[in-house]
Structures are given as structure tokens and as C-alpha cells.
């Protein structure tokens, strides 16, 4: 069988990046990144860092970068359905207060 053997150096670089991103997300969480005005700035930064870390794990530790196209389709489908779950859900809940209907209040 022919399998892509990932060099140790790549694994160590990915691990170093994961640790640095963890440090960045912890330190970043201690400050108000929106400067008191942008309400969701901290959440956006934290989610972006978490998604970057997850992508690194999926591509390198889980070998998706070196896998066949069918694996890519499955992984992409998982991410897409997760996005549908969260985006459509919040498109509902976050916009309820836009209409003046008392019983719709969140």
C-alpha cells in the first residue's frame, strides 16, 4: 500500500501553531477587542481561532490533505450541515426582536 507518510517536522509545526493559537485565544479573551462598541468582536475572534485550529487538525493530523476526494466531500458535507444548523437557527433567534411582536421576544 502506498500511504503518504507526513514528515515529523510538519507535525511539530502544526502542534506549535496549535499551542500558539491557544495562547492567542486565551490572551485575546482577556481584553475587550471591540473597544466597547463592537459587541461581538471577542466572539468572532475566538470562533475564527477555533476554526483555524480545527482546520489544522483535520488537514494534517487527520490526513485529509493527503486523502482522496470522497473524504473531502464527506468532511465538507459535515461542515456545511453544521453551518446550516447554526446560521439558520441564529437567523431566526437574533432577528426576532426586529419585529414589534411581544410574544416573539427572546
Amino acid at each position: 500500500m502506498t500511504h503518504h507518510v507526513v514528515p515529523i517536522r510538519i507535525y511539530l509545526l502544526v502542534f506549535a501553531a496549535l499551542i500558539l493559537l491557544t495562547a492567542a485565544t486565551v490572551i485575546g479573551s482577556l481584553y475587550d477587542l471591540g473597544g466597547g462598541r463592537l459587541h461581538y468582536a471577542n466572539a468572532v475572534v475566538a470562533i475564527t481561532i477555533a476554526m483555524t485550529k480545527a482546520t489544522l487538525v483535520v488537514l494534517y493530523f487527520m490526513h485529509v490533505r493527503y486523502s482522496n476526494r470522497l473524504i473531502w466531500v464527506f468532511v465538507g458535507a459535515g461542515a456545511l450541515w453544521m453551518a446550516i444548523l447554526l446560521v439558520l437557527l441564529m437567523a431566526d433567534f437574533l432577528t426576532r426582536s426586529w419585529l414589534p411582536i411581544a410574544t416573539w421576544g427572546g
Binding site: M1, V5, V57, Y60, F61, I71, F74, F93
Partner: protein, 215 residues
């Protein structure tokens, strides 16, 4: 004596096809797991948008230091797991056993730190139920946060325990010489599971521990 590892089972054309079938099957399972944890995350996000202040109080009661250390421990265990799979690919049995043992040890460190955190929460009356107590006018909302905290980290810890069982099973197989550079599918597939559990924690950590530190 265990039978000599065969290249592939009779229903497959090649060992390569068998390997791809197994990894694809594991990915299909992991996607159902994404949907399972996704439901918990979706519920959390809805309620944190309703009760932001109460959830902020709850989040600040979590131990940031222990949470950060545990994140590093779990990321380290993913590195050793990736190294275990690599050792299996290259047919290095002793290194495979060594890295599986490292991964298992780091998994137990994670569960140990988690149990210390749980123990603190019990002593501080932060476990939802009749003895729940927090100095806040938003007690009910804080209690809801801790319901999510225990459900989500508890489910994650349960997956870690299952992973520890799988690692033990792999170590027995590796010690008996069940794996070779020709056949290491169980190591690869368990690796996928272990990394998935790591990814769940990568999202749980900021969601639960970091959500309100800046306020």
C-alpha cells in the same frame, strides 16, 4: 498465536480499497458525531444569546488556568497520536507502542484535571440541583450555564474514556504484532476518532471558558 495479518479481507479488491472503505466509514460516523455535539452547541448559543449576563457569571466561575492547561494536554495527545499512526505506517512496533502509551497517559492527565475541576464545582455548590448556590440575582440563568457545562464536558469526557479503551485495545494489538506497514487501519481509524474528540474540545474551551473574560 494470532493469525498473520492478511493484506485484505475477501470482499475487497485490494488492501488500498479496504483501507479507504474503513477511513470513509469512520468519517461518516464522525459526521454523525459533529451533528450530535452540534445540537449541544446550537442549544448553548441560543441560550447565551438570551441570558448573556447569567452565562457570563457562570463562565467566570470556571478555572481558566486548568482549562488552558487541559487544552495544551489534549493538543499534545493529538501530536503523540499522529506520531503513533506515523510509526504504524513505517512498521515500527516499539515506537508505535511508546506513542500509544504517551497518548493514553495524556488522555488520563486530561481526565484527571477534569475530575479536579468537577470536584471544585461540587464543593462550590455549582452543580445544578437543589444545592445549587451562586451569589447573583441571575441564579437560574447561571444554573442553566452549568447544566450546559456539565452536559457538554461530560459528553466530551465520556468520549475520552471510550478513546482510552480504544488506545488500550490498540496497545494489546501492537504488542502482539497485529499491525504492520501493510495493515494499520485500526490505528489510523482510532487516530481519526481521537483527533475528532480533540476538535470538540477546541470549540468547547472558548465557548465555555472564554466567553466572558473581557467583561
Amino acid at each position: 498465536m494470532p493469525e498473520k495479518p492478511s493484506a485484505h479481507a475477501h470482499q475487497f479488491e485490494t488492501a488500498e480499497q479496504q483501507y479507504e472503505t474503513s477511513t470513509l466509514g469512520m468519517w461518516a460516523f464522525l459526521i454523525t458525531e459533529i451533528m450530535f455535539f452540534g445540537g449541544l452547541f446550537a442549544g448553548f448559543i441560543v441560550y447565551v444569546s438570551f441570558y448573556a449576563e447569567g452565562f457570563a457569571v457562570g463562565s467566570r466561575h470556571l478555572d481558566l488556568t486548568l482549562g488552558t492547561v487541559n487544552t495544551a494536554v489534549l493538543l499534545g495527545s493529538s501530536l503523540t497520536m499522529a506520531m503513533a499512526v506515523r510509526s504504524a505506517q513505517l512498521g515500527r512496533r516499539n515506537r508505535l507502542l511508546l506513542f500509544l502509551a504517551f497518548t493514553l497517559a495524556l488522555g488520563f492527565v486530561f481526565l484527571g484535571i477534569k475530575s479536579v475541576e468537577y470536584s471544585h464545582k461540587f464543593h462550590e455548590h455549582l452543580v445544578p440541583g437543589p444545592n445549587f448556590h451562586v451569589d447573583s440575582p441571575l441564579t437560574q440563568n447561571v444554573q442553566l450555564f452549568f447544566s450546559f457545562y456539565f452536559a457538554m464536558t461530560g459528553m466530551h469526557a465520556l468520549h475520552m474514556v471510550v478513546g482510552a479503551g480504544l488506545l488500550t485495545w490498540l496497545m494489546v494489538g501492537a504488542a502482539r504484532g497485529r499491525f504492520s506497514s501493510e495493515y494499520f487501519t485500526p490505528v489510523e481509524v482510532t487516530g481519526l476518532y481521537w483527533h475528532f474528540v480533540d476538535i470538540v474540545w477546541i470549540f468547547l474551551f472558548p465557548t465555555l471558558y472564554l466567553v466572558a473574560r473581557h467583561q
